[in-house]
């Protein structure tokens, strides 16, 4: 039953929502604005907000100094690859947990999530040594696997929650009609779960795109993605704020645009199961 809302209340709610939204967006806005300032304007006190001489020189310089497309391409491969691989592994796992649960399913799910509680740096050296032995340092394939593993608990959890909303009877009916396990998952379950899978994919692409621990520690020149591109513009000695902002803006632009176009899908995926 919906509650009747007075106009005054509506205005207050809308204003509050916009205020919170702007507050959250402000750091990104400030980064974008700073990227159009000169280095001197970027640090001026009091800070200048909109009324300064807009310049593109930071972007020109960043373009000259770094091969943006190479970093971008690496980001696309690593974020896309790890998400795709994660989905392939997670769909059967979530299927078994949702439709043929055992006594221990809940425990396994919680245990999977508990691996996210260990700070990544705790396993940096073991993973680094494994990477040296397997020749995976500074390779895209190595990062695809590591990022897939770090995000796998979230992928499985999201898919599991989504699958549980699908009536098991439909799958049963398919089985009665003679569908094999592969056909059941591929032709019955997956098409029905497409919206859930889509929002899982989107969220994981964003997580993998922004991942800055493994991507910085396991790469050098060949597989370095956009996080390394940003890191190369930060400096404790010397003023690089405007150039750093330009590099950041270039690095977040693709994912920001992707997020903008798919926001409906994202919100739906994230709030799924909240309303029953």
């Amino acid at each position: 039953m919906s509650r009747s809302v007075t106009t005054q209340r509506k205005i207050i709610n809308t204003t509050a929502a916009w205020a919170v939204g702007l507050l959250i967006f402000f750091p990104i806005l400030w980064t974008i604005l700073t990227s159009f300032k000169t280095e001197a304007q970027a640090i001026s006190d009091p800070p200048v907000f909109l009324f300064f001489d807009w310049t593109l020189e930071n972007y020109t310089e960043v373009q000259e100094r770094s091969d943006y497309m190479r970093f971008l391409w690496n980001s696309v491969i690593i974020a896309g690859g790890s998400t795709l691989l994660g989905i392939i592994v997670a769909i059967p796992a979530a299927w078994s947990m949702a439709f043929v649960p055992s006594k221990r399913t809940k425990d396994i799910l919680l245990w999977m999530l508990s691996t996210k509680m260990l700070p990544a740096v705790g396993v940096l050296y073991p993973i680094y040594l494994i990477f040296i032995n397997m020749g995976l340092l500074d390779s895209k394939i190595g990062l695809v696997v590591v990022l897939m593993l770090t995000n796998l608990p979230i992928i499985v959890w999201m898919l599991y929650t989504y699958f549980r909303e699908i009536p098991g009877e439909i799958l049963e009916a398919a089985r009665m009609d003679g569908a094999s396990l592969k056909e059941e998952i591929l032709y019955i379950l997956t098409p029905m779960a497409i919206p859930g899978i889509a929002s899982t994919v989107l969220l994981n692409i964003i997580l993998a795109w922004n991942e800055a621990f493994w991507t910085l520690n396991l790469t050098a020149a060949n597989a370095a993605p956009l996080t390394a591109f940003i890191a190369s513009y930060s400096s404790p000695e010397g003023l690089f704020y405007a150039k750093l902002s330009a590099a950041s803006t270039m690095a977040i632009a693709p994912i920001l645009i992707l997020g903008w176009f798919s926001q409906k899908q994202l919100v739906r995926g994230l709030t799924f199961g909240a309303v029953k």
Binding site: S234, G238, L239
Partner: protein, 436 residues
């Protein structure tokens, strides 16, 4: 063997040999993001034109990320980098560990004897040179000539801490947001501890006595830190406990600092009219002393070293020799002017009339570097090398914790004595745990 088979075999061998000789060697260079290093990347085409069989890959990272990244790689023999940019803190430690390739056999034209003795000493372990200095820096006093004149004072070329205190008081005008002195307050072994260790040296303090016993709550450290605290609390900018190099640089450039004691590399930033509002009103002086015969200035050299795990040592040496040579200096001068050449590593640069004319801060930089002695940093004897640091692996972690205590005292959360007592306990525990 038939003739045909042996012909084929010979051709195959020849093909392999020729293939091997013309194969391109790729060297990966890890470097920091600062003006001189960026300039080197821009000029590297000259190197590859002269050495077409060597390809350069650059990994530029922020200083702290770089330090962590290369340490991790060299300690695990990961072999990711063929040339690393490291400083005077890492070189003696890594050299002793056998992690770096000695550079004693660089070509004679490279002229090792032309290196400034203080810099060369900091990069040498047991007679072996383990890194080639790219640029060197010390610290000095940068001050506003106009404010000094207004205050009716004249900065001596070699001031004492007492004079710095008087001048700071006279220049401070808090209503107009002008603070007599800006110093580092941000916690970290390369931040406030770099300044404080160098400052403490001039007060006669040392980190450890000859038996590696910490002396952080002794009378000399107490005197030095109390003086620093008084300066900052009375004449420093608000929120100084979070100010590092960049924050102070920005304050100085906006005309809010009367004096700033920091890296000599800042001289070119504060005198650059495109960035600085006070570019034509800056004077320089040596770092202060306390009448004890040591000045409170540090010594640092960003240097190029080759990790022992590199599989392209020869190509890496060729590159290192090029990037740190006199010819490279001349190349920068030709392309970007003498004021932009990497300073502080070679005697010949400070004998070059063109350079001395283009860089007004050159003589002060040289005098500051020469005043620092990494082998005898303090007045009393010490068991370690390093001016603003102690070249042992335990130092970075321990000094950062000590820095946090002092930063907390500057923020008013505890007294100087409490901070130094805690610092002493931190250092004692760490040294005991490490078996000193």
């Amino acid at each position: 063997m038939s003739l045909r088979v042996s012909m084929l075999a010979a051709t195959a061998v020849a093909a392999v040999t020729v293939g091997g000789a013309s194969a391109e060697t790729t060297i990966t260079i890890a470097t920091v993001n600062n003006g001189d290093m960026i300039r080197m990347q821009g000029l590297a085409d000259e190197f590859t034109a002269a050495n077409p069989d060597i390809k350069l890959e650059w990994v530029t990272l922020e200083e702290n990320v770089l330090r962590q990244r290369v340490t991790q790689d060299i300690a695990t023999k990961g072999g990711q980098f063929d040339v690393m940019t490291i400083g005077t803190y890492e070189v003696p430690i890594w050299g002793k560990q056998g992690w770096l390739v000695p550079l004693n056999d660089l070509p004679p034209a490279w002229d090792a004897d032309d290196l400034l003795p203080a810099i060369r000493g900091g990069l040498t372990v047991d007679g072996d040179l383990y890194a080639a200095p790219f640029y060197g820096e010390s610290s000095m006093v940068m001050y506003r000539t106009d404010l000094m004149e207004q205050a009716g004072l004249e900065m001596p070329q070699a001031p004492s801490w007492e004079f710095i205190g008087q001048a700071a008081e006279a220049m401070t005008d808090k209503e107009n947001e002008i603070y007599g002195i800006c110093l580092r307050g941000k916690a970290g072994w390369g931040e406030n501890i770099a300044l404080l260790t160098a400052m403490a040296n001039s007060f006669g303090a040392r980190w450890f006595d000859e038996n590696w016993q910490p002396e952080l709550n002794g009378p000399e450290w107490t005197q030095a830190v109390t003086y620093y605290m008084d300066l900052m609390n009375n004449y420093g900018p608000p929120g100084a406990s979070t100010n590092g190099f960049n924050e102070n640089l920005s304050l100085f450039q906006q005309g809010k600092c009367g004096m700033w004691i920091d890296a000599t590399v800042a001289a070119s930033f504060v005198t650059n009219p495109e960035e600085s509002t006070v570019a034509d009103k800056v004077g320089f002086a040596l770092a202060p002393d306390n009448g004890l015969g040591k000045r409170g200035n540090w010594l640092w050299a960003w240097s190029l070293a080759i990790p022992a795990g590199s599989d392209a040592t020869d190509a890496a040496k060729t590159f290192v020799a090029w990037a740190t040579s006199k010819e490279y200096t001349a190349l920068v001068a030709e392309n970007e002017g003498w004021a932009n050449v990497p300073p502080g590593t070679r005697i010949s640069l400070y004998e070059n009339a063109d350079y001395l004319a283009a860089a007004p801060f050159a003589e002060m930089t040289l005098a500051s570097i020469n005043a620092a002695d990494p082998t005898a940093p303090s007045i009393k004897p010490v068991p370690y090398t390093g001016v603003q640091f102690v070249a042992i692996p335990e130092f970075a972690g321990m000094a950062t914790e000590v820095g946090q205590e002092i930063s907390a005292a500057l923020a008013g959360q505890q007294s100087v004595q409490d901070a130094l007592d805690k610092a002493q306990a931190i250092a004692t525990d760490e040294m005991e745990a490490s078996g000193y």
